[in-house]
Amino acid sequence: MSLYRRRPQIFFLLPALFVLALVMFYPLIYVLWLSFHRRFLIFNVSEFIGFGNYVFLFLQDERFWNALYNTLYFTVTSVFLELVFGLAIAVLLSREFRGRGGVLSILLIPWVIPAVVSAKIWEWIYNPDFGILNFILKININWLGDPFWALNAAVLVDVWKATPFVVLLLIAGFQTIPNDLFKAAKVDGASSWHIFWCITLPLLKPTILVVLVFRTLDAFRVFDTIYVLTAGGPANTTETLSIYTYKLLFHILQFGYGSSVAVVIFVFTGIVTVFYMWLLSRG
C-alpha cells in the first residue's frame, strides 16, 4: 500500500504492461523457447536440443546463408535507392509551386496501395510475354524468372512503393528548417548546391535517421511483396529470411527450426534498431 502512496503511477501502468506482456513478451519468449527444441508437430517430436538448431543454421544450412545474403542485398539496395530518390523528390517538392498538393497526393498513391495488390500489379508489368515494361523498353528480359534479375526486380518494386513514404517524411523534415537560414545563405551568395550540402542535409539528419530506421526494418522483414512476385524463386534467388521462416513454419511445420530463424531475424533487427538509436541520440 505504501508503494501506492509513494508511486501511484506504477499501478496505473500495470494494465498496459499486462497487455503488452500478453501480446508481446509471451510470444517472444515462447518463440525463443521453441527455438531450442526440435519440434516436428506431425510426428509428435518435441525434444530439447539446446543450441542444436543454431549450430545447424550457422554451420550447415546453405539456404539460410542464401536467404541472409538476399535479405541484406535487398535491404541495402532498396533503402539506399529510396533515400536518394526520396531526397531528390523532396527537394524538388519543398518549393512552393502551383499544384504542389496535387503532385504530392499523386506521388503518394504507391504508398497507399496495399503491398500485395501492388506486387500483383507489378507481376503483370514484369510479365515477359505481355508485360508493359518490356514493351516500353523494347527489350526482352525475363524479369522475375531470371536468377539475376528477379531480386533486382523486387528491389525496384519496393523502391517504387516506399519512396513516397520517404518523400513525405523528408518534406515534413524540411518544414522544421527555418526559412531564414536559406534567405541568409542566399544573401551571402551561396549556390543552391552549397545550400543543400551545408544547410539542408545537416539539418535533415535527424529526419533521415528516422527514415532509415523505418525503411531498414521494413526492408529487412520484407515478405509480402516478394512472396507475391516470386514466392522466393527462381532457385531461391529471391528467398529472404522472412520467406524462409514462413516456409519452415507453415509449409513444412518445422516449428523449432523455423523459430530459431525467426529469432535470428529478431536479433538482427534489434541490432539495427539499437545502432540507429545510438546514432540518433548522438544527435
Partner: protein
C-alpha cells in the same frame, strides 16, 4: 470526456459482438446436431453445394450443416488446418483436403478412420490413384471427392495444317513444336508451369515417371537415378537447347500459361483440366481449335500424369463423428458427385460416372478424361511430402533456370531429403 466515453462504449459493443459470435448456444436450440463443413472457395457458382447441403438436411432432419468457405489457395488452407488442428480445434467437423496433405494429416492423427464408411467393394469403384493416397496402412482416412490430373493441350488446327498427329513421346513433341514454330513465326512451342512452386513439382514428376523413374521407392530415396537425371535434363533442354519452351516459363503458373495459350500464341500446353472451359469459352480465339491427350512419355515407358484433386475427411476431434461420416458419405456419393460434375464441372472420382450417357453427351471433355485419370499417379505418398516438395522446388527451379546441372541438383535434393527424413524417424 464525453467522446472518450462514447469510444469506450463503442469498443465494448464491438468486443461483445466479436465474442458473442463464438457462442455455441444458438446452434443446438432445436435438438438438431450442427456440423460444420469447411472447404476451399469454388471457382464458379457455390449454389450446387448449398443445394446438396439442403438435400442432406431434409434427408437427415436431425442434422444441420453449416458451410464455411476458406480462401482458394492450397497453401492458405493448409496453414489454416495445421494451426487449428494442432490446437485440437473442434470448430469444424468435415473438411476438404488436398491430395498432398493426407499422409501428413494421417500421421498427425488429425483424420478420423473412415474404413467402415468405405468397405473394400466400394473402394474398387474409385480411381486407383486417389485410393492409393486415401488408404494408409490398410485403413481409409479420406474419401476422394474430385480428381485432377495433368493433360496435354494442343492446337489441332495447326497440327492438322502441317500434317502432324498428337505426339506420343516427348521427342515427337519437340519435333512437331519446332517444325511449326519455324513456319508460324511468333508462336511459342510448349508451355508449362515453371515457377518455383508446387506446380513445378507436378510438371517435372511427369517427365520423371514417364521415363521410368520415381522419387521414393520402398522408403528409399531414389531421386538421383540415371533415368531421373535424363528426364530432368530433358526438361531443361526444352528451354535451353531445343528452345520450344520460352525462357519465361520460369515464372509461369496455371493461369498465365492458360492465358497465353487461350490467345492462340502457343502450340502445346501442359495444364489441368480446368483450362478447358476457358479455352472453349464463346469469346475465346481458340474455341474449337484445341485438342487434348494424355501426356507424352519417353520411348519404352508409359505416360503418367500427376494426380491432383480433393478429398473429404472428418476431423478426429469432432464432437459429432457419426453425423459427420453421414455427411461425408453423402457428399461423395454417386448422386452428389454427378451433380457437382454437371454443375460446377468437378471431375468425379467414381469411375462409372464417366460412362453415363448424360455425362458423355453434355461433358464430352470430362468423359474423355477417364484415360488420363487412370494414369494419374500421386506425388510421393509420405508424411514428409511437404518437406520433400520444398527441397525439390528449389532444386528443379535451379535446373530449369540453368544455374545448376541436373546431376548436382538431384544429388543435393537426395542429401537434403535424407537429412530431413533422418530427423523424423
Amino acid at each position: 470526456m464525453k467522446r472518450s466515453i462514447k469510444l469506450t462504449l463503442f469498443c465494448f459493443i464491438v468486443l461483445l459482438f466479436a465474442f458473442s459470435s463464438c457462442d455455441k448456444k444458438d446452434l443446438e436450440e432445436d435438438n438438431r446436431v450442427t456440423i460444420v463443413f469447411k472447404y476451399g472457395k469454388l471457382f464458379g457458382d457455390p449454389e450446387p453445394i448449398e443445394r446438396l447441403i439442403k438435400e442432406f438436411e431434409s434427408l437427415n432432419p436431425d442434422i444441420r450443416v453449416k458451410d464455411e468457405v476458406l480462401p482458394a489457395t492450397t497453401d492458405e488452407q493448409h496453414q489454416f488446418y495445421v494451426i487449428n488442428l494442432e490446437a485440437g480445434s473442434r470448430d469444424f467437423d468435415v473438411f476438404s483436403l488436398d491430395v498432398i496433405w493426407i499422409p501428413e494429416f494421417v500421421r498427425a492423427g488429425w483424420l478420423r478412420d473412415l474404413t467402415h464408411v468405405m468397405p473394400p467393394e466400394l473402394r474398387k469403384e474409385f480411381f486407383q490413384g486417389p485410393m492409393e493416397v486415401a488408404m494408409q496402412n490398410g485403413r481409409v482416412y479420406a474419401i476422394p471427392w474430385y480428381i485432377d490430373a495433368g493433360v496435354l493441350y494442343y492446337r489441332k488446327d495447326l497440327l492438322s495444317k502441317y500434317g502432324f498427329s498428337p505426339p506420343r513421346t516427348w521427342d515427337e513433341l519437340v519435333y512437331i513444336a519446332s517444325e511449326i514454330m519455324r513456319k508460324e513465326p511468333g508462336i511459342y512451342g510448349f508451355l508449362w508451369q515453371g515457377k518455383q512452386y508446387e506446380g513445378l513439382i507436378c510438371n517435372v514428376l511427369e517427365y520423371i515417371w514417364g521415363n521410368g523413374g520415381s522419387v521414393v521407392e520402398n522408403g528409399k530415396i531414389v531421386i538421383d537415378s540415371p533415368n531421373n537425371k535424363q528426364a530432368l535434363g530433358f526438361v531443361r533442354d526444352l528451354i535451353h537447347k531445343y528452345g520450344v519452351t520460352p525462357k519465361f516459363v520460369t515464372t509461369m503458373t496455371e493461369d498465365s500459361t492458360t492465358r497465353i495459350f487461350a490467345k492462340g500464341r502457343a502450340i502445346f500446353m501442359r495444364n489441368w483440366p480446368y483450362a478447358w472451359n476457358i479455352l472453349e469459352r464463346e469469346d475465346s480465339p481458340v474455341k474449337g481449335k484445341v485438342g487434348f491427350s494424355v501426356l507424352p512419355s519417353f520411348p519404352g515407358y508409359s505416360s503418367f500424369s500427376t494426380l491432383g484433386g480433393w478429398f473429404l475427411g472428418v476431423n478426429n476431434y469432432s464432437r459429432h463423428p457419426r453425423e459427420s461420416e453421414k455427411f461425408v458419405r453423402f457428399l461423395s456419393s454417386y448422386r452428389a458427385q454427378k451433380l457437382l460434375s454437371l454443375t460446377v464441372g468437378y471431375r468425379p472420382t467414381l469411375k462409372r460416372i464417366y460412362r453415363e450417357s448424360d455425362i458423355v453427351k453434355t461433358q464430352p471433355f470430362t468423359a474423355h478424361l477417364y484415360k488420363v485419370f487412370e494414369h494419374a499417379r500421386p506425388r510421393p505418398v509420405t508424411p514428409f511430402y511437404m518437406v520433400i516438395s520444398q527441397v525439390m522446388q528449389s532444386e528443379f527451379s535451379a535446373v530449369i533456370t540453368g544455374i545448376r546441372n541436373p546431376e548436382d541438383a538431384l544429388k543435393s535434393a537426395k542429401k537434403h531429403i535424407e537429412f530431413i527424413m533422418g530427423i523424423g524417424y
